[in-house]
């Protein structure tokens, strides 16, 4: 396996580094596409042919003994997801990096392309590895590759800071995983996910589960550990944000699913509650902060956190249902979670691509400087609108289907009178999240694309090139497909859910067959009906207006004689109402000075307001501070005097002498 990796690495790097500057991105895209298509073909084979060979490789690990990699239905689903996201990102990168080719040195670009390739394939390795050393290897490879990707604009200080905090947090999470796997290996003699069942069987499962949850949650952006996302995403170039937020954090979800699956009994119930609460908190926190952000990419990053929360709610409900032996609920929750994972990768990639277009055309991502882009970049605007509606879980698009599944799971629980309180909380949380998401994304779309441009640079923006539009069309296809034909998508994810249900694939399929198709057909019917009715009404209206006078007049200024562009409602004021409720979650940061009241003829004032996470310093800052303080003390030790050099030795002798005298060692 590793030999193969070695070979692939060598070939890819050689090809990319030797390619001429112009051809690098295209070549990268080609490599990624071919690899992804091959993997996707294999995955489809696994998904639809139950007798397909799932074993991928067999390697003798030096760390945990022999290890293997295999692709069961779940892995196959994630491989599909990764392949899709990877291809889209590669395609987008081709268009996006064009502007940088002449500014960045070729080595820089090649490094970037190589890291992108490595990231995509290491993620596939992660979801295919059965655990143990191979898993950790690919996991860390993924981390370092994404780190190098974030560093694309490393001339800017804040980029470096974000990248570093990301790297450090990932390292902490990684150590949790190592601890988990070692514990597993110690007790069962094998560090594969399969042996988890064995471990859970005869020991207290929760501590190990929590250990893994911490490790994977760090990557997935679980509530207290989410702080790297809003830092890293604005720093990274857009296709990277798309991959990281659309695909990479899903590997964390994958891990959580893997370690949660073999649980049973009381532990399963507890885990379900934990996941549910974690999901609700993460989702609410994410969405409220998303609504508060004034930067496009930060907003998107927080909405990723929110979606992770939704996915976890689904997982938690599934676990609860399974623990109470209610397979229908379990299947609903699982399918909802998995489908939402898929959907999120679709619309989040699309949204980040859109953000990339905005950035490269207007050179800003600050919501309150943009506006009216729908006229200058109509295609981007249309695609972005679809994605925004989809992420707000509105019918007839895909986000609705997955959230509907999760809701149905919870409603079934409530209607069945089981775990009513937990499910009710789930419903409450999910509903609140759904509501606020609408607020956040109306803010985003309305402020960025609608109204009139708030600056000249924005007014002169041009539409992005076709490559990027094509790259954005890929996820859109996914969105529409899932939204309009949910039956197929749900059939797909229900196959993938089979390994987690501890039921045989066939029985799961049967359950899904008797559970979903009816209502899903109705849903797709509703979707088509919506489209039809709306189209009909629109046509009707235009028919009515055809032979009537349709004139243009200025917007009603409510009595203002000279309303100007700066008077438009800003994003900040748009979300002010929510802020007034949820101000405990955020701390307001204002730079510059507001106009003082006694200033009758105000001069030019610059005032920049933003909302920071209350806990964003949880992992990032405090230990840097601590380090600084420690260092100040440490400085005393380095006088450069020989006396002190030798003093170290003397002190060491005395220290050991005392310790052994006290029998401490």
């Amino acid at each position: 396996m590793f030999l193969f990796t070695l070979l692939a690495l060598a070939l890819a790097s050689a090809a990319i580094f030797l390619a001429p500057q112009r051809a690098k991105t295209g070549l990268t895209c080609g490599i990624i596409a071919t690899g992804c298509l091959a993997a996707a073909a294999k995955a489809v084979g696994v998904l639809f042919n139950p007798r397909a060979n799932t074993r991928l490789w067999q390697s003798d690990g030096v760390l945990f003994g022999p290890e293997s990699g295999s692709m069961d239905a779940l892995s196959a689903l994630f491989v599909l997801l990764i392949a899709f996201g990877g291809i889209a990102a590669g395609l987008y990168a081709c268009g996006y990096l064009k502007h940088y080719l002449d500014r960045k040195s070729s080595a820089h670009v090649s490094l970037h392309c190589l890291s992108l390739t490595v990231l995509v394939f290491s993620m596939m390795g992660v979801v295919c590895a059965d655990g143990g050393y191979t898993f950790l290897f690919f996991w860390e490879l993924m981390t370092i590759a994404s780190f190098l990707l974030i560093l694309f604009d490393a001339e800017r200080k804040e980029v470096v800071r974000a990248a570093l905090s990301y790297l450090v947090m990932m390292h902490i999470g990684f150590l949790f995983l190592v601890a988990g796997f070692v514990t597993l290996w110690q007790q069962t003699g094998s560090a594969d996910f399969q042996s988890l069942a064995l471990y859970y069987g005869d020991r207290a499962p929760l501590p190990l589960f929590l250990l893994f949850l911490l490790g994977f949650g760090m990557k997935a952006g679980l509530f207290p550990m989410h702080v790297w996302l809003p830092e890293a995403h604005p720093a990274a170039p857009s296709h990277v944000s798309a991959v990281m937020s659309g695909v990479m954090i899903k590997t964390g979800i994958y891990g959580i699913l893997r370690v949660a699956a073999p649980l049973g009994g009381e532990a399963l119930y507890a885990a379900g509650l934990i996941l549910l609460c974690a999901g609700i908190v993460t989702g609410l926190w994410g969405v409220i902060l998303a609504a508060a952000q004034n930067d496009v990419k930060r907003l998107l990053a927080y909405s990723s956190i929110e979606n992770i929360g939704v996915i976890l709610i689904g997982t938690g409900i599934a676990a609860l249902g399974k623990s109470s032996g209610n397979d229908a609920v379990a299947l609903c929750g699982l399918c909802g979670a998995l489908l939402h994972t898929l959907n999120h990768s679709f619309f989040k990639s699309l949204l980040f691509f859109g953000a990339g277009n905005i950035l490269s055309e207007t050179h800003t991502t600050s919501i309150d400087r943009l506006g009216g882009l729908a006229k200058s970049m109509p295609l981007t605007a249309l695609l972005f609108l679809c994605a925004a509606a989809a992420i707000s879980a509105l019918p007839p698009l895909n986000g609705f289907v997955s959230e509907w599944l999760i809701y149905v799971g919870m409603f079934d629980n409530v209607a069945g009178g089981q775990q009513v309180v937990a499910s009710a909380f789930g419903i409450l949380g999910l509903a609140l999240i759904g509501g606020i998401v609408v607020l956040a994304f109306t803010k985003l779309y309305g402020m960025v694309f609608l109204g009139s441009p708030r600056s000249h640079a924005v007014a002169e923006a041009a539409e992005a090139d076709n490559l990027r539009i094509a790259a954005m069309a890929l996820p859109l296809a996914g969105i529409l497909a899932v939204g309009l034909f949910p039956q197929g998508a749900v059939a797909l994810v229900s196959r993938a859910a089979a390994p987690l249900m501890n039921l045989s694939e066939r029985s799961t399929a049967a359950l899904a067959a008797e559970l979903f198709p009816e209502s899903l057909r109705m849903i797709s019917l509703t979707a088509w009906l919506l489209i039809g009715v709306i189209a009909l009404l629109y046509l009707l209206k235009s028919r009515l207006l055809k032979n009537r006078t349709v004139t243009e007049g200025p917007t009603w200024g409510c009595g203002f004689t000279s309303p100007n562009i700066r008077m438009q409602y800003t994003g900040e004021s748009y979300s002010e109402g929510l802020q007034s409720i949820a101000d405990t979650l955020t701390k307001e940061t204002g730079e510059g000075s507001a106009v003082p009241p006694q200033e009758i003829f105000p001069s030019a004032h610059a005032f920049n307001i933003g909302h920071k996470d209350r806990i964003d310093t949880l992992f990032a800052a405090w230990w840097v501070e601590l380090l600084h303080r420690i260092n100040i003390h440490v400085m005393r030790f380095r006088t450069g005097k020989i006396n002190h050099y030798v003093l170290f030795a003397l002190a060491f002798l005395v220290l050991v002498f005392l310790l052994s005298l006290l029998n401490l060692i």
Binding site: L136, F137, A179, L627, M635
Partner: protein
């Protein structure tokens, strides 16, 4: 062995007597012919384990590190030639002579089977290294040299006391490790403890771990970078091997637990010092040598954990040799480009020297033990040992320190490669070939990280079996 020494000395003498730089190149050629000849002989002839010239024994550990030494030495030699182009012939040939002598002495340390002989050759390395450190003939180098000789001699003297104690415990007889191991089993534990303590703190000046790590850092700072590449890999390995042999002696006795916990303390302290000082230093060479301190700390912790930790420690040392030498050689190129090492002034290396910058970045990734790095494997093994031993506190502290290390190293290297340059700096062109050759070492390390050939594993396993 004797022949080897004679030939090497002859090479060194040739270098010293050289009339022209070309002649020195020839001498170097001859010297390395000798080195690789021996290596080939040992690898091919399968003469491992046989004793030579009474005090020397070609055992596996010596062989492994000797091969590394040959490779690194050759690279160092080539780089030095490019690095010291402008020097006058006198210093030039002295430098190369000392370089060869140093390498010979290190080889002696590797192969010596007698604890006293090990000591002698370590002292000899001090003397050769001192000359190299003083090469630039400035006040700073003078100071560094003074400190190096002085502290090394003091430490070595301590170690000698420890050795004498061992001998006395062993009640005379031959001082070859095998014989000692036989007789130490029944030794007075307190004596053994004191002896080990003295030897450890004495040799720590060579292995660059706490307590006497400082002079190693100073030496790397003062010596020309190619030479520091040798000092902080070959010489460090020599110190490691010397300590490791004593460690194996102790493994037989009943104070082994105590020895291991002492090593844990040492390793943890070294790791802490490396981590904390990495952030503050503002000279890239001191920076790299602090990372050496940190890595050696991990090695010591591995020894302290025991079991799989020993394997990890050896593997770590081996791969660290490749990685660190590559980094130091890259730094030599950086020096050529910027004519300085001040961290807060250099920048924008990526666009000045592509290969070198990529080499540096990859080197950072590898030295931070991210895959595809061999150190990744060894650190994981150390962690496995720690968790398996249930020392969670240790794991926690290590985690914190490693995070600090990751943070500081990345911050520094990224600054060098990406951040815009200081305008009063006038970077000159870099020599691609040198960067490539340094990169080659790194790539070798990566290959080792992804795929360890079976015989290699076997070798390490043999060495690690106490």
């Amino acid at each position: 062995m004797i022949i080897y020494f004679l030939l090497s000395l002859a090479g060194a003498a040739l270098a010293l007597a050289a009339r022209s730089k070309r002649f020195i190149a020839l001498a170097g050629l001859f010297f390395f012919a000798v080195q690789f000849g021996l290596a080939g002989l040992l690898l091919g002839g399968g003469r491992t384990g046989e004793t030579s010239a009474l005090f020397f024994r070609f055992d596996e550990s010596g062989l492994l590190f000797y091969c590394l030494l040959c490779v690194v030495g050759a690279f160092v030699f080539v780089h030095s030639k490019a690095y010291l182009k402008e020097n006058p012939l006198k210093e030039y040939r002295l430098y190369f002579c000392l370089l060869m002598l140093l390498q010979t002495a290190i080889a002696g340390v590797y192969f010596s089977d007698n604890i006293a002989v090990t000591w002698i050759f370590l002292e000899a390395t001090t003397l050769c290294a001192a000359g190299i450190i003083y090469h630039r003939r400035t006040a700073q180098t003078l100071e560094a040299t003074w400190k190096y000789i002085f502290v090394c001699s003091t430490g070595i003297a301590m170690a000698y006391l420890g050795i004498l104690l061992l001998c006395s415990v062993a009640e005379g007889g031959s001082l070859s490790y095998g014989a000692l191991a036989e007789r130490l089993r029944t030794g007075n534990p307190l004596y053994l403890k004191i002896a080990f303590l003295l030897i450890l703190s004495g040799y720590s000046c060579k292995m660059e771990i706490f307590p006497l790590y400082t002079i190693g850092v100073d030496a790397n700072f003062a010596a020309p970078s190619p030479a520091s590449a040798l000092i902080s890999t070959g010489l460090v390995n020599a110190g490691f091997l010397a300590i490791f042999r004593v460690y194996r002696l102790m493994a037989e006795t009943d104070i082994f637990g105590w020895v291991r916990s002492v090593l844990l303390i040492v390793g943890l302290l070294s790791l802490a010092i490396g981590a904390l000082f990495l952030r503050r230093t503002n000279n890239y060479k001191r920076f790299l040598s602090y990372s050496t301190v940190e890595n050696m700390g991990i090695v010591a912790i591995g020894l302290g954990i025991g079991g799989i930790g020993v394997w990890a420690a050896l593997f770590h040392a081996v791969c660290h040799t490749l990685v660190k030498s590559s980094l130091f050689l890259q730094m030599a190129v950086v020096r050529q480009v910027y004519d300085g090492y001040r961290i807060n002034r250099l920048g924008d290396y990526l666009s000045i020297n592509k290969v070198g910058a990529v080499g540096l970045l990859l080197g950072t990734v590898v030295v931070l033990a991210f895959p595809p790095s061999p150190l990744f494997l060894s650190e994981l093994m150390v962690f496995r040992g720690i968790f398996a031993a249930g020392k969670w506190w240790l794991a926690l502290v290590m985690l914190l320190l490693l995070c600090i290390v990751v943070y500081s190293i990345c911050a520094r290297i990224i600054k060098l490669c990406y951040q815009p340059n200081q305008d009063e700096l006038h970077p000159s062109r870099a020599d691609r070939a040198l960067s490539w050759s340094a990169l080659a070492l790194l790539i070798a390390a990566m290959v080792l990280g992804l795929w360890q050939p079976a015989p290699f594993r076997e070798l390490i396993t043999v060495i690690a079996t106490l």
